[in-house]
């Protein structure tokens, strides 16, 4: 059996600021394990669900009520606990305006 090498998340999703706790998928991502580059070196991130291109996934565990950062600024607040790797969208994120 040939094990596939996990893909590096940096090649299929983009973060726009060091402060961001979400990345935006550039292509359709299949559920599975990905390599995540961080300051501390490389780690693994498990993406538990398919994520379509243009949608966001959490880069760390995010608590209910915590701010979601994209572009280095708050784009809204989490409406539930969000596990690292999960999709972040209108079902668990609400505008803070």
């Amino acid at each position: 059996m040939v094990m596939e090498q996990p893909e590096n998340l940096a090649e299929c999703a983009v973060t726009l600021s060091d402060r961001d706790n979400v990345a935006t998928a550039l292509v359709d991502l299949s559920a599975g394990d990905y390599v995540l580059d961080s300051d501390a070196g490389q780690a693994m991130i498990t993406v538990p669900e398919d994520i379509k291109a243009g949608f966001k996934l959490a880069l760390s565990d995010i608590g209910n009520g915590d701010p979601i950062y994209k572009y280095g600024y708050v784009i809204g607040l989490a409406t539930e606990d969000i596990r690292k790797g999960c999709c972040v969208h209108v079902h668990n994120l609400l505008s803070a305006v």
Partner: protein
């Protein structure tokens, strides 16, 4: 950073044009057909017509005059022929007097004074011969990029606009500001929800309060008109494509302004007084917003688009940048640069370098898709009704 030298047409107000256009403009919509007929017999000129120039009240009277004269005042224009009717508010003399200091050759023809169409066309032919001779004698000389003004626009955005094309243009904006140029960020309604980001970047308290106040006014105007921008934005289509909140949408839009401080908020079609990144009070309507920035002196406009649009301007090259490769391939002759290649792994900064190099080429005469295709939209933003 070291300076970048460009070649341009020196105007007597000290600015340099990257084009040397001869404009024939109607000062009121009643003169539009005459301008169109002049354009039919003289393909070298840039005709500009519009729906305004008379029966305006208050702020509109000044805004229309400022937009018409500002467009002629743009450094890319070398000579102007104004065609008026005779009884309108925005009459030829009012506009011509605002162009005195520019040293451009400005001639005027008034339909009611000359009379018959044949005589008007003959007079236009004579005027244009003089103006073209004058313009043809203007030479190009070196100028520093720091006297360049670049407008920013996005139209027909998609979820990739905020992660491919706009961040790439944002890096170009930062570089232009570092080099001393003026960069104009526009479209106030597309700043709703991004107030926190904007606030932290406006050192001048007066400018900060003015901009935040103007953003709130747009929210109120939408409510007064029976809509709610915060409720309707992002639209259902945006949400289906991955955009979540209005903050996300607006931040993805203003990122094309980069990360520099915002130094000024200028009125629609007014010329910025300060260098660096400034904001112009324009609506989200693309032709109106681009027209305002060019009337405010923008030499060229960087325009990102997700769904694709031909919008150009009569006197300023508009550089069209696609956010996704699929649209670029489908509308290739309307687009100059594809930022969609970021999805395929090209770093955003490489696309930014490509845009910057293209911008320098355009300054030196390379034609943009809008110029090749004669896309010359001209639309004036209005404040109130006509009477």
């Amino acid at each position: 950073m070291s300076s970048v030298k460009l070649k341009g047409y020196r105007r007597s107000d000290g600015l340099f044009g990257i084009r040397n256009h001869v404009v024939v403009m109607s000062t009121v919509s009643c003169a539009n057909s005459v301008v169109e007929q002049i354009a039919k017999i003289d393909a070298d000129i840039i005709p500009i017509t519009h729906q305004h120039g008379c029966t305006h009240l208050g702020g509109d009277r000044e805004q229309v005059l400022r937009t018409l004269s500002g467009t002629c005042d743009n450094p890319n224009v070398g000579g102007v022929l104004l065609i008026g009717l005779g009884c309108e508010t925005a009459n030829v003399r009012r506009i011509a007097s605002r162009l005195d200091r520019t040293g451009k050759m400005v001639e005027t023809l008034v339909i009611q004074e000359i009379g018959e169409l044949r005589k008007i066309l003959d007079a236009a032919h004579e005027s244009l011969r003089r103006i073209k001779t004058f313009v043809s004698k203007q030479e190009r000389s070196d100028f520093d990029l720091c006297s360049l003004t670049v407008g920013l626009e996005c139209g027909g955005s998609d979820p990739f606009s905020g992660i491919t094309a706009n961040p790439a243009v944002g890096l170009v904006s930062d570089k232009l500001v570092d080099l001393g140029a003026t960069v104009v960020l526009s479209e106030i309604p597309e700043m709703i929800g991004a107030e926190e980001c904007l606030k932290s970047r406006i050192p001048d308290e007066v400018v900060r309060q003015k901009l935040l106040g103007r953003i709130s006014e747009y929210v109120q105007m939408a409510k007064d008109a029976g809509g709610d921008m915060r409720g309707a934005n992002p639209a259902a289509g945006n949400i289906k494509a991955g955009l979540s909140t209005i903050e996300e949408k607006s931040l993805g839009c203003i990122i094309k302004g980069g990360h520099s401080d915002i130094n000024e908020l200028v009125e629609y079609a007014a010329r910025p007084m300060r260098k660096g990144l400034v904001v112009m009070d324009t609506p989200g309507n693309d032709p109106e917003s681009v027209t305002g920035m060019v009337a405010g002196g923008a030499h060229l406009v960087l325009f990102t688009t997700g769904v694709g649009t031909p919008v150009g301007n009569p006197v300023a090259p508009v550089v069209k940048i696609s956010s996704n490769t699929k649209m670029y391939q489908r509308m290739s002759d309307f687009i100059d640069i594809d930022a969609g290649k970021v999805v395929g792994g090209t770093p955003v900064k490489d696309v930014a370098n490509e845009i910057f190099d293209f911008l320098l080429d355009v300054c030196c005469g390379r034609q943009t898709a809008t110029e090749v295709n004669n896309c010359r939209e001209f639309a004036i933003n209005r404040i109130g009704p006509d009477f």
